[in-house]
Symmetry: C2
Amino acid sequence: MNVSELGEFGLIDILSRMAYATRDREAAAWQKLVLGIGDDAAAWQGEAAIQLATTDALIQDIHFTLKTISWEELGWRALAANLSDIAAMGGLPRYALVSLALPGHTEVEDVVIFFRGMLDLAQQSGVAIIGGDTCSAPLVAINITVLGSAAQDDHLLTRSAARPGDQIAVTGYLGGGAAGLEILRQDIPTKPGVARKLKRAFTRPQPRVAEGQALAASGVKAAIDISDGLVADLRHICQASRVSARVETNRVPILPEVKASFADRALELALSGGEDYELLFTAESTIIDRVKDAISCPVTVIGEITEDETGKITLIGEKGQPLDLPRAGWEHFREGQPQP
Amino acid sequence: MNVSELGEFGLIDILSRMAYATRDREAAAWQKLVLGIGDDAAAWQGEAAIQLATTDALIQDIHFTLKTISWEELGWRALAANLSDIAAMGGLPRYALVSLALPGHTEVEDVVIFFRGMLDLAQQSGVAIIGGDTCSAPLVAINITVLGSAAQDDHLLTRSAARPGDQIAVTGYLGGGAAGLEILRQDIPTKPGVARKLKRAFTRPQPRVAEGQALAASGVKAAIDISDGLVADLRHICQASRVSARVETNRVPILPEVKASFADRALELALSGGEDYELLFTAESTIIDRVKDAISCPVTVIGEITEDETGKITLIGEKGQPLDLPRAGWEHFREGQPQP
């Protein structure tokens, strides 16, 4: 059956039942919920802590194509991008609202699978999906809003708090998301296990929610998640903080599988590929040491913040020589960017 | 200049400056704001009252066409639909997040005019636009999320609180929105002043925010806003409350200009046209009397809630005869519905 045969209200009925079936009585989000899907607005018991909100659109054939990602992966990934934004503030994600524009010929089963992928990550993250909108459209357009609260006594990680002398660090490994996308788009010779791991880095990114909270608890003040690309996102921090940055490219933690399969393009994927959803942050070295003790994923220092107010990113090569960045990070409306 | 020449970050810069320029230091939303547009998430000081959230998509050539609505009106209307949802809960709207997907050839000036229309209504309503997303797309897709809080000591208006014996009432007059849309779509002979008023009912609806709060303060428990159409939205209340309804159609407050210009189609427009954003609510007659004293807009009783749990809507004609409804309210994915 497709969604035009089922109709809007039939579809909402199925999705709201699915959301309630994942209800977790232990999770604060569900405990405080007053009204979920089905009224003019969702409602929950408020709290005095600082509240957070972020929203993101995913448009078919701009952000994704159904040729390279399954409906289930799309559901996971759509929510992951928003949870990553809450993680980059050091926050606790709580609620999600999901707006779903679909062609009438979309199979109901595909929408159910999409929603299952999203609910998988929601459940794992203690997030309740409490509202949304469904409508018809000539293409798939997804918009997700995630609401959260500050975990650490109203202490947030912001883009504008980097200071000269701060070390620049990242969680995890980079390049996997962009490499996975390339493998999904075209046949690139890789070992089967490697291809599977890299594709998964793109299709099922793990937002660093617990790590973001640990950064805030450790005293970090400046952070962003790497969605546009390491250099582009570092530039966002530098511009907001009115500082510059110096990155030693040989310290950038490239995912070993990316190094093995992409040889001389591995650094480019790690620097400007985006899609990794790791956290990029800056702090004094003593605080970085505290972070390393607090979280189990790798934390790698890749450079330092400098005084120049112009937001310049200087890349240093293996032998100390300055490097040019092959291409900038993702920016919408710009032509000549790679297709999804 | 079009948006692909300006680029995503240039556009965000313009829109965020516009949002901050409307900053109202008297408004609670702005006073509690910690971080607006420009970081990974917006942040504000929370509060213990019940919190509300609603989200809505507007897709080009499904919900609207730029042939019948200007960019400025589109901005106003997009926000109005969401504020109306908060009004239907008896809530205070506070914050909005605006997700804007646009073709690269869209003129920057049009986007600015769109945002000005939206900020006009935001300012008038004490709402701060604190975040969003911009991206490219083959068509215009707008998604707005509005956050609010319960105005009346955690007392909300819900769809599920109608009880047998309740009177059914509406604010204002009906049919204007749908009539205005018809005039915008095709040449319908009307007096110039009348055409202007009806078009405006469609393009610049006034969400009943103060009225929704007054309903809650007066003891009303059940309400919805009329976006899909009076009968369709009354059915939502009846189904959620497991009751039925009896509507005396000669009591339905049809906008006089609709009666004058649409003759025998006026009742149909008022019953199933939608787009009016008036409030439909049910309560005992003593509470309805209290509402009439509390708000200055017309409040009209149009029928009563009955015991049948099946959610049936019975329409009664002028001479007491049962009437058939010419067509149902709006439902997405259904074929054969009127074009925007």
